[in-house]
Amino acid sequence: MGSFAYAQDDKIIMISPVKIWRHQKKVTQLLGKKGKIISFTIIRVPPAGYETEAPYPVILAELETGERITAQLVYWQKENLKVGQKVEACYRRIRKPDSEGIIPYGIKFRPI
């Protein structure tokens, strides 16, 4: 969930390892947190860097702590895509690796 930079023509030029490292502290705090879907969509025309993943659902989840998180839903069936669906934060690869092989990981949700 860091902010990454990309070049045109699908050639990724930079995913700062420092940003990823800084970001991991936040990611680990969210792991295993439970919540529910507030709203959702399915992305069919993705931004650059996500083309190989589409279509994929993105949800706005509200955690039991009240915090809201925007992230993808994984391991989903059609019946899971509804407001009120209970979800749990898990650790997943966010995008394909950059040219130096750095793989950005972060939070996605799975239905429970």
């Binding site: 902010s3 992305i43 993105v58 915090e67």
Partner: protein
Amino acid sequence: MKIPVLGIGVTKFGELWDYSPRVLVKQAVAEALNDARLKITDVDAIFVANMLSGILGNQENLGALFADELKSANKPAFKIEGACASGGLAIHNAVNSVLAGVYEKVLVLGIEKMTDHNPAEIAQALMSAGHDEERASGISFPGLYAILARAHMEKYGTKEEEMAAVAVKNHYHASLNPKAQFQTQLTIEQIMKSSCVADPLKLLDCSPVSDGAAAIIISNIKYQRSKTKRTVNIVASTVATDSLGLRGRKDLTTLKAAMVAGSKAYQQAKIKSSHIDVAEVHDCFTIAEILAMEDLGFFSKGKAARAITRGATKLGNGGLVVNPSGGLKACGHPVGATGIKQVCEIVTQLRNEAGERQVKGAKIGLAHNVGGSGAVAVVHILKN
């Protein structure tokens, strides 16, 4: 507040492969200067609205670039960026500079060149207006508004066909606007059958990728257009912000920044929403016009979709007309130019110069310009 608009200019909006940003800006500015009967050297400063030139075109420093290109003779120039609200924000800053007495005549121009790039590049570039967490989720701007649409559907029973009705109306208006990107009318069925971009939003719920430029010249109250020509004045100019991402919003069925900017603007102009005859609102997606209608107080919450569907805001209805230009949806959405084009359309309407799409007897108009998924909103009210 009473800020005269001396001149306006808008290029054709669309896929303008023959024209560079410099050419588009020169076209819009030449039209505005001609309308104002001024030369470029008569203006005291230039405000440039743009969002994507740095990301897509690797070109920044647009203030100096256009001051030079327009042969302004070393005039001060500034770039203002606030995503899709860049145009409205640039006008607001120009108005403030005039009110402060720093400048007397100010040129505000908006420009965007988008069609040189492929959809994935554009989707990624537009997401620079969002929250970093949203970018990492792989969501797109249609996706963010789809999340707002889903929440509105859940709470108020808003239907996909009712969202489509916004596009039908705006395409009808655009069919009467020779500068609009799309001059073809659409049916609800065509919109419902178009391919899905981000459920529940379909391709024809979305404003297009566009090129275009727009310009206005404003001044302090000492200056008017010639005695034979009607001068339209800006009587309110307000800005409000909200959380950058949707994660920070308590209510997903309203854009609070637009509500706050709207109510402040009505106060500043000393009018009520019911006094507005014509409005250009930020319909980047069909759901966005429904939100705008409710946020600006034209309809109570949950009532706008049905009202739009029955034609309550369509040209010729005798009351408020919304997006006579065709809106972002059908006139086109060259991001930086949009907020300025909206004000140009309102000025055209209040001068009674809109031809076939003229809102009869329009005296008070409103422009509503939103950046991000509601992170910033700008409202202008104009009177003739």
